[in-house]
Symmetry: C2
Subunit: 392 residues, 2 copies
């Protein structure tokens, strides 16, 4: 039988998980206590309030679902959507497709709006869909498409939803902590996120928040939520503010220690500083990549600083480059998915990974590998351009 | 804003989580790597094979669901049960009631068999239910009821299911690693468990295993699985043995390091030795409790060694006793649930908590608190009886 597993130390610059701050990693190993222990319950309250800060909301129903981002996504859909509801789903990457699957499995009708991968959600199409379809229950969209590196205009989509009295469901898995997520200011009704991206915690938890309007919809459902595990009516009893906590499931104790610590780190830095830091390192990375002769998939105005999609130069064996980076440099970058498989690399600058050390290491490593793979890269140009950008 | 959270060091002898082996706790803090990293994928394969050992099965579809036990429960139901199916649900505690909820939310019909809390599933009632209802899709039962400390006869229930050509769904959350779970020998079709009980890992993962027959049912469904997150058709693609792993969700990396380590520890000890150890410490604990004048809820032949339900003596403020144990002795024991609330305490001897140190510490602490609460406990008798039992 295989013995203990000792992972190597990688530098994580893929689409997530990201590098973790050692404080967060060590928080995982603090002593386990009971999930109904008064001290644990107090920590749960602190996590709720720290997540309200991260989401920029006063929503009382703000908590981490005990599962990965896809469980958080499902929590939003199964709680808000009932059979035969119409839901506008904006698809411009992998995760919009997953939303469609969720709508169908709720017995509801997805109204699909499709945009080319690498471009943002087209607002005109969203408005057309509202005009053509009366009685839309919700519009669902991905704020930050991890599969392409594109940011869509969350506020504008929410304004349309408001105009046509529809709920909004937003995927902020890759945005939370990296780029602005202003749930109250934008009036978003249901948002789910992940912990392994710009929060730099482990995967396996999904912060969610529901507006008052969304809560009213959940409480007033005609049908029962099809998932017992994700039924917010029950989860509210466990995470709720009433003195008597009802046992629902056993929360993943130590991962929540880590999330608490990651959120402390975010507070100490300040949300706006964190957003600025992501943008700052993104600009240096892009300057370096372009100086190397590489080009970005996404137009500048729609780029996510935390997820950089780079077109693969002609004739390059893209998997070999990634494998060499991983095996020789212990550096992980991401591959393309779906129609972008084989066409892009995805370089993440998420949370703790958004640092000058990582930017320079990545540029140098990629340059070394591309040079030995026969790509005519101007030697040293990338670092020079990145450093110049940093000095701007 | 609240700063970092530093939990105290508790001794965990409630219904789970249990104390963790320091090896497992420290495994949590190993460096994070990507969830599609070849080394991580290799570790996933090792976990599958170690879980096959723990479950005593050769089932290829054996893996940890990325959520707590209630997600594992839901995975079994939503994958095997379709609308209008009939499912016999044996309820003799909290978790049978949860199974009923799952059956209803699948649009299926639960046929309830109810037994008094504190007693095992009555096999005659199960057979009667099969006789009265043709075409039963599955029988679902809890092998080890955490809410009462009762063990039911899994093999006998599975034999009945076989006789009436029904599937079996078994809850082994509290049994796995503590008392025999022989999936292949007993022919159980779907089993889910938890990691925070006798495996002494953190909560948040749910090992599951599905027989060939169960897999055939999943693949041959008429309707789509209502949960995208828990659809085994998709999860098989991520955890499957084919060379090309399909991205489904991001596995909770570091918690899986801990599960891997916990399973290494189980292998080193050997399953049968682990079962014997639980029984050994259980007998000493019971000898001590009885010497103190306390009595057990469950008849000896149906007792789970890992979960000991004790009747609360008349006139004792049970919550005060638990709170004093927690605050003065840093010792957690469990309260009763449902009809047993206020009537029993639940003392867990699960995994790493099943040790002589914990048994003696618990007896001494409980004696001290009961004495100062005015309960006429014969001083020193508990430890004497427990030590005598250990020397037997």
């Amino acid at each position: 039988m295989a013995g203990s597993f000792y992972p190597p130390q990688r530098t994580l610059m893929g689409p997530g998980p990201s590098d973790m701050n050692p404080r967060t990693t060590l928080a995982l190993s603090r002593p386990i206590i009971g999930h109904l222990d008064p001290l644990f319950v107090q920590m749960m309250d602190e996590i709720k309030s720290k997540l309200q800060y991260a989401f920029q909301t006063t929503n009382t129903l703000t908590l981490p679902i005990s599962g990965p981002g896809s469980a958080g996504m499902e929590a939003c859909f199964v709680n808000l959507v009932e059979p035969n509801d119409k839901v506008i789903v904006c698809q411009n990457g992998v995760f919009g497709g997953r939303m469609k699957e969720n709508v169908i499995r709720c017995g509801a009708k997805p109204i699909m709006i499709e945009d080319t991968w690498g471009t943002p959600v087209d607002l005109n199409k969203v408005e057309d869909a509202f005009k053509k379809n009366g009685d839309v229950k919700a519009v669902a969209f991905v704020q930050a498409e991890t599969s392409t590196g594109v940011q869509s205009d969350a506020k504008a989509i929410a304004d349309l939803a408001c105009k046509y009295t529809s709920l909004t469901i937003m995927d902020s898995v890759t945005s939370l902590g990296g780029t602005p997520v202003k749930v109250d200011e934008w009036s978003i009704d249901a948002v789910y996120s992940g912990t392994q991206k710009c929060l730099s915690c482990i995967p396996g938890l999904s912060p969610v928040t529901f507006s008052e309007a969304a809560q009213a919809v959940i409480v007033g459902r005609k049908t029962q939520v099809q998932s017992w595990f994700l039924d917010m009516n029950l989860i509210m009893g466990y995470w709720g503010s009433n003195a008597k906590r009802a046992y629902h499931h056993t929360a993943p104790i130590n991962p929540l220690y880590a999330l608490h610590e990651a959120l402390c780190i975010l507070e100490e830095e300040g949300l706006e500083n964190a957003w600025k830091r992501h943008q700052y390192h993104h600009e240096a990375l892009v300057a370096g990549l372009e100086a190397m002769g590489l080009s970005m998939l996404v137009k500048e105005e729609h780029r996510l600083p935390q997820l950089n999609s780079i077109k693969i130069p002609d004739g390059v064996d893209e998997a070999k480059v990634r494998n060499r980076l991983l095996n020789e440099f212990q550096l992980e970058i991401g591959a393309g998915l779906g129609p972008l498989a084989g066409k892009i690399w995805r370089i993440g600058l998420m949370g703790h990974s958004a640092s000058q050390r990582n930017v320079l290491y990545c540029l140098n490593s990629l340059e070394s590998v591309l040079l030995t793979e026969g790509v005519p890269v101007p030697s040293g140009a990338a670092i020079k351009a990145a450093l110049a950008e940093y000095q701007n």
